[in-house]
């Protein structure tokens, strides 16, 4: 094992002279957080610094800010927010509501793994339309040993969409117009041929992935940021349902296709389900 210390390139603390467990100062990527950065940087600038290790340019800060607004609340129809509301409605702990949103919102269909997969695509195909079209025209490859269940649609597109939705187009056009990197601009210019190749309209994870590429993020950083940036909506909808009570929250209907009925008492001897 290595020396029993935590190694970090992000955070530096100087201890109080009389307390090794209290910080006199904290520096993040070299910047004095409480003595300098606190009074000068915005939350979005600090967020960018944490992930990328450098202060953002004005365009980068504006892009991350725009992305954060676009992702902050997917609304109560979104599965991750739905999961958070399931926690809220029963009075579950606040942390569990957010853990529920993170778990559900991590997936390959509309979640952070989809963003990761699109960002891997950007790394592989760059701004080459033919490469993208060839990749999108193929069946989605399923690695049976991957812990992430395969999604049945090309990452970044809406498997149930009819056309690219207004919020997705508005977000793409606004973010591309900020002129921070080439990915969003290229995506905006080539959206239609890409949608034709995919057979589906572009979805928000596809836009987010392009924005995160333009911010210089790795797929792993993009996955984390996407998870984080969607939490505000999950939080407030969970709180709202906590106040509203379970009687005002849908319970839905289940149609059991193999109900043995109330009087059945089937003892299975051979081990197979019927």
């Amino acid at each position: 094992m290595s020396e029993e210390v935590i190694h970090t390139r992000i955070w530096q603390e100087e201890a109080e002279p009389d307390n090794a467990f209290a910080a006199l100062s904290c520096h993040c990527h070299g910047y004095d957080v409480y003595g300098d950065l606190l009074s000068k940087a915005s939350w979005i600038e600090y967020l960018y610094l944490l992930f990328r290790g450098e202060a953002p340019t004005a365009a980068q800060a504006k892009l991350l800010n725009g992305l954060a607004i676009a992702l902050a609340n997917p609304g109560p129809r979104d599965p991750a927010v739905h999961a958070a509301m399931c926690g809220g409605v029963g009075g579950s702990t606040s942390a569990s509501c957010l853990m529920a949103a993170l778990a559900v919102g991590a997936g390959g269909s509309g979640g952070s793994r989809e963003v990761f997969n699109v960002m891997m695509g950007w790394q592989a195909y760059g701004l080459d339309l033919e490469s993208w079209q060839a990749a999108l025209g193929k069946e989605v490859e399923d690695d049976p040993a991957n812990i992430w269940p395969a999604a049945s649609h090309p990452a970044g597109f809406d498997p149930y969409g009819v056309r690219c939705t207004n919020p997705v187009r508005q977000t793409l056009e606004y973010l591309a117009g900020l002129g921070c990197g080439q990915t969003l601009i290229w995506l905006n210019d080539n959206r239609k041929p890409l949608e034709q190749a995919a057979g589906f309209p572009l979805a928000m994870p596809g836009v987010a992935a392009a924005a995160l590429c333009d911010l210089g993020c790795t797929p792993e950083q993009g996955e984390m940021l996407f998870l984080m940036l969607r939490l505000p909506g999950a939080a407030v909808h969970a709180l709202e349902q906590r106040d509203g009570g379970y009687k005002n929250f849908p319970f839905f209907r289940i149609e059991l296709e193999n109900d043995p009925g109330p009087s059945q008492n089937l003892t299975n001897q051979n081990g197979e389900s019927s």
Partner: protein, 265 residues
């Protein structure tokens, strides 16, 4: 039908064979009444039934229990257990600490991902060998392509103390001659004779056992979800019953900064 029409079909209703509860009356669990047909199942039998829809022999159930008990270590240094202990030390709730520790157990170098990869390899290798493939060639190709084989080799130490105690129970139950168990030990032999000298770890053994019990790889992966669970509450409880924040406290000088020099914003 596709697009929104397909979604509309499912609004507000779930058609399923997995089960439902009828408030105040009964529960149907994968086609059987929980309180009558399944009343004699112990918890682990019900859990495996919930995943595979199958029942297992008493000998197999005994081994499945051992697969669980022998993987739960109450050692709070282990990364997943440490999460539970940190939750206790920070005065978070037990379920939050344990749920987070369970989630962390789905790791690349231990737990979930290696379980799935190992099971996939063993099942694929067995099929290919039945068709005439050579095991050494398969092992070499797997290492070359994936830089390792899930279920073989181990972080921190080379040997796995769980193998022999689990195998003792497997032999006691007469289940040591399954084709996947034999294959797993053959893979270990090939690895030990090679440059890497990796031994089989608990994942390799349990993946093989579950394959011998007829489980598909994703069934094994789900059955194995709580294998570390019983080691977590002791870590949480120990920390929550001690004064707060005394679990592995970290002084400033235990954090080694290796980044850029100090600068002004």
């Amino acid at each position: 039908m596709n697009g929104p029409d397909l979604l509309t079909e499912h609004v507000g209703r779930l058609a399923t064979e997995m089960g439902a509860f009828f408030p105040g009356e009964r529960v149907v669990f994968r086609g059987k009444d929980l309180f009558t047909s399944l009343k004699d199942l112990d918890w682990l039998e019900l859990y495996t039934y919930s995943i595979t829809g199958k029942r297992y022999t008493p000998q197999q159930v005994r081994v499945l229990h051992v697969m669980w008990t022998h993987n739960s270590y109450p050692d709070a240094r282990l990364w997943n257990n440490r999460v539970a202990a940190l939750a206790g030390s920070s005065r978070s709730t037990g379920p939050l600490g344990i749920a987070a520790a369970m989630a962390v157990s789905e790791a690349k170098i231990f737990g979930g991902a290696s379980q799935l990869r190992c099971s996939e390899f063993l099942i694929r290798a067995k099929k290919l060998m039945d068709e005439g493939a050579d095991l050494e060639t398969l092992v070499r190709a797997e290492i070359k392509e994936k830089r390792g084989i899930g279920g073989f080799g181990r972080p921190i130490v080379a040997t796995d103390e769980r193998i022999e105690p689990i195998m003792a129970i497997v032999r006691e139950q007469g289940l040591e001659n399954g084709s996947y168990i034999k294959l797993a030990f053959e893979v270990e032999r090939v690895l030990l004779e090679g440059r890497l000298r990796w031994r089989m770890n608990s994942v390799g053994l349990t993946a093989a056992l579950c394959a011998d019990f007829g489980m598909r790889m994703h069934e094994y992966y789900m059955v194995a979800v709580p294998v570390f669970l019983a080691g977590m509450p002791p870590c949480y409880l120990d920390a929550v019953n001690k004064p707060e924040k005394q679990f592995f406290p970290i002084p400033c000088n235990m954090v080694s900064y290796e980044g850029v020099d100090q600068r002004r914003w």
